[in-house]
């Protein structure tokens, strides 16, 4: 298999089941097709349905996929490892997505843990080698007052059965399994070695059933802290670069003031209230304390609308998050600029157009407001606009 960035496309798919987070994919029902061209490439299909994942290689055409990803093998590995920016690859057309690219951006990071390329050297290290270093890696200062016996039953090459005895600030390793044990862990010797050298994540190995734990679960979780981390002999450890992850959620409250506040008071009554500049006559929406063009106070309120004309519009395909809710927007949607009847020519408002009306949208279309059932004096009172076709002015 041809390697890129130290790993192969096949390994990325082979590790998919291990990296899958079923609890995040409960609502998901999608088949994703992958085509990686060139050396070391191939075709794969990942079917994710209500918390289950099926990964298969595909000969011939990729069929029944909601989204398919087409790229060369090197770009695929690079993007997966984060060595190549996904947006950069999409922009340069080295990576193409048929179907909705938002799945690539938003869904995949949610339902899979990131792929990590396997380290090369540690493959040679066996479980037996690692067990042999346990006593010298013991940290008595962390194990004060701890008394436990831990059994390892490690199958396969380089495996065996061992008992680790921790008592009175000392650690001893014996061949065979003692009875009784505080906790017993059963797994492939390769899995144990992988966890110790950091190529296999312990939680994932346990969650996916590769590690069986009998006895005191908490004791099994605690073992790591009694020992210094295992280091592969001769390996120079890459410098650890920690990134801190933070999600901000901030509640905000903005005063509207007595002038702009009239706009919100108006839409609560399903009315659009602008204020008219005494000098230039423009109807400001939302109403403002002064007219910035004329630098004079504005006092007169006028009702405009409720219907209006579409002057410009944007059909949005990019699924950006709604900052007010954090939810990903349902695309495509249309943002329309509307000059309400009676408003002056530059005083447009921006609103959402009813989704079903998008195919018939044109500049110059007449629209009418769609109000929320319960209006509270918020921007949410005006859900958007819909085409006003009865007037036949399309």
């Amino acid at each position: 298999m041809t390697e890129y960035f130290g790993t192969t496309v096949a390994d990325i798919f082979a590790t998919m089941p291990k990296r899958f987070k079923p609890e995040e994919a409960k609502e998901v029902d999608i088949a994703i097709g992958y085509e990686a061209t060139g050396e070391g490439g191939g075709k794969w299909k990942a079917t994710i349905k209500h918390g289950t994942l099926k990964v298969e290689t595909v000969e011939g055409e990729l069929t029944d996929c909601k989204t398919t990803i087409h790229t060369d093998a090197e770009t695929f590995v690079g993007v997966t490892l984060g060595m190549i920016g996904a947006l950069d690859a999409l922009s340069s057309q080295k990576l193409r997505v048929a179907g909705d690219p938002k799945f690539l951006m938003l869904l995949l990071p949610k339902i899979f843990t990131p792929y990590v390329a396997p380290a090369k050297k540690p493959d040679a290290v066996t479980a037996r080698d690692i067990i042999a270093t346990l006593a010298e890696r013991f940290r008595p200062e962390k194990a004060e007052g701890v008394a436990m016996t831990i059994g390892y039953d490690l199958a396969g090459e380089g495996g065996g059965r061992w008992t680790i005895i921790i008592r009175d600030g000392k650690c001893a390793v014996r061949e065979g399994l003692a009875d009784p044990l505080t906790v017993k862990m059963t797994m492939e010797a390769k899995t144990y070695a992988g966890m110790m050298v950091g190529t296999i994540e312990a939680v994932t190995a346990f969650t996916s059933g590769q590690v069986k734990i009998e006895g005191d679960m908490a004791a099994a979780g605690a073992t790591a802290k009694y020992f210094r981390k295992y280091v592969v002999p001769g390996a120079t450890e890459a410098e650890e670069l920690i990134s801190l992850r933070v999600t901000n959620s901030i509640e905000q409250r903005f005063a509207t003031g007595p002038v702009m506040g009239r706009w919100f008071a108006g839409i609560r009554e399903k009315k659009f209230l602008a204020n008219r500049c005494p000098k230039c006559g423009r109807t400001q929406i939302p109403p403002r304390e002064i007219c910035a063009w004329c630098r004079v106070r504005v006092h007169e309120f006028v009702e405009v609308g409720p219907k209006g004309v579409v002057t410009h519009f944007d059909i949005v395909y990019f699924a950006s998050p709604d900052p007010l809710t954090g939810a990903v927007r349902d695309t495509p949607y249309a943002t329309v600029y509307v000059v309400l009847d009676g408003a002056t020519e530059r005083e447009a408002i921006t609103v959402d157009l009813k989704k079903e009306d998008i195919p018939r949208l044109k500049e110059g279309a007449r629209v009418r407001p769609v109000w929320a059932e319960v209006t509270t004096g918020s921007y949410r009172d005006l859900i958007g606009v819909e085409l006003d076709e009865e007037e036949g002015s399309l």
């Binding site: 984060g82 060595m83 920016g85 947006l87 950069d88 999409l90 922009s91 340069s92 057309q93 193409r96 997505v97 690219p101 670069l241 990134s243 933070v246 901000n248 903005f254 509207t256 702009m260 706009w263 929406i285 939302p286 403002r288 910035a292 002057t311 410009h312 519009f313 944007d314 059909i315 949005v316 395909y317 990019f318 950006s320 998050p321 709604d322 900052p323 007010l324 943002t335 600029y337 000059v339 002056t344 020519e345 530059r346 005083e347 447009a348 408002i349 921006t350 609103v351 959402d352 921007y379 949410r380």
Partner: protein, 404 residues
């Protein structure tokens, strides 16, 4: 007309940039700032002790890191010095240069260091822009700087085929420039033969604005050092580049004000005609040797060339089609690859005068314009069509225009 009166002349004497990328996990913000500052000081042949005042800028809202100038003082050297902080959206970097220019011109400080930075990978730019688009209304619909309205207007005015080809020609030209600039973030190696394919197949974002048209989100920093004419006369390591004049202006209160029945005079046009008039520049295309323009998307870029150069009808398209804006063309645009290639927002608008100044010095490296560059134009853009426009000169010999 009111004159922008300058108390004394100001020169750019030091420029430092980091590389621009979406992967700077090996540096924190202060370390990234330090990299640019060290390079600017070395370029100027100065030590931090020679700096009288520091101006710092980025968009706090993007990284959501409060008062970053405090943390960044590890990299800026601002500890115990006078410091100002600037945050004006996309224009931040250009405003930093305007502020540094003003601080030196006023006579309050002799030598000022300005720093613009952003680590966009640490935050959410589109979310940030969306959140600040309007304080009280329309937020639920905003998509940051993504819009297809300019594309639609150009298609309406020039026809679909010609408009789409113009935007894509501009995009590929920028990539060709970026390929010559090793610091640029996105260097795809695009060819003009890919035009039709990209026009049809690049994923659409909004209307005819496609992914390939839009600028990157980058990490990076830029630092520049400014000093007075008196100091320059005592000698500089590299040739000084003079800031002849700048204008920073905003005229629209809300975005929908731009999209009524009639199109208002775009702020860029207003800024350009005001600045050129007060400097006696009749024909900007003939006068300038390079224009480093803040080009957030290929559509905006093509449209704005008409506004900034005060062109009429399809003059800008004809110039683009004739190769006038190419690196070896009549008036090269963005030899650096522009914002489309590299966009660390707080530094982005500073990179425009920084790159323009390097062109004047002849120090741009692989993307240096072959013919001599004596007069340079640089722009910044942000928010509801804010515009910053700046004239840089090689020689201190321009004619003052008299105003009454």
């Amino acid at each position: 007309m009111k004159m922008h009166v300058k108390n004394r002349n100001v020169a750019i004497i030091g420029i430092g940039q980091t590389s621009f990328s979406s992967h700077k996990e090996d540096q924190n913000q202060a370390e990234m700032v330090q990299e640019a500052v060290i390079r600017a000081l070395a370029d100027a042949g100065l030590k931090i002790g020679d700096i009288d005042c520091i101006v710092h800028g980025n968009m706090e809202l993007f990284e959501m890191q409060f008062a970053p100038d405090l943390w960044h003082s590890l990299g800026t050297g601002a500890y115990g010095k006078d410091e100002y902080r600037i945050t004006t959206g996309g224009t931040t970097g250009a405003t930093l240069v305007c502020a540094a220019d003003n601080l030196v011109a006023s006579g309050l400080y002799n030598t000022v260091l300005a720093i613009g930075m952003e680590k966009l990978q640490e935050g959410n730019t589109t979310g940030g822009i969306t959140n600040m688009a309007d304080p009280l209304w329309f937020r639920n619909l905003q998509t940051g700087a993504l819009t297809g309205t300019t594309a639609q207007e150009m298609i309406d005015e020039f026809g679909e085929e010609r408009a789409k080809r113009a935007a894509m020609r501009y995009r590929i030209m920028m990539d060709k420039h970026a390929m010559l600039n090793p610091r640029a973030h996105r260097r795809f190696g695009l060819e003009y033969s890919q035009m039709e394919d990209l026009m049809a197949n690049s994923p659409p974002l909004v209307g005819e604005l496609r992914l390939i048209h839009m600028c990157s989100q980058s990490d990076g920093a830029c630092a520049m050092i400014f000093t007075s004419e008196e100091k320059v006369k005592q000698g500089t390591k590299n040739p000084p580049v003079w800031i002849r004049d700048h204008i920073q202006i905003h005229r629209e209160e809300t975005i929908p004000n731009l999209f009524g029945f009639n199109k208002p005079e775009v702020t860029h046009h207003y800024a350009a005609r005001t600045l050129f008039a007060r400097n006696g520049i009749q024909d900007p295309v003939a006068y300038f040797d390079v224009f480093e323009m803040y080009d957030p998307s290929a559509w905006w870029a093509v449209d704005w060339l008409r506004e900034f150069f005060l062109l009429k009808g399809d003059e800008h398209l004809r110039m683009l089609e004739a190769g006038d804006f190419d690196l070896d063309g009549r008036i090269p645009i963005n030899p650096s690859g522009g914002v489309i290639a590299s966009n660390p927002i707080g530094a982005t608008a500073m990179l425009r005068p920084a790159e323009a100044a390097l062109q004047i010095r002849g120090d741009a490296g692989g993307h240096q314009i072959k013919k001599e560059v004596r007069h340079a134009l640089a722009s910044g853009f942000g928010g509801t069509f804010w515009s910053v426009l700046m004239i840089l000169e090689k020689e201190l010999n321009w004619q003052e225009v008299s105003h009454d």
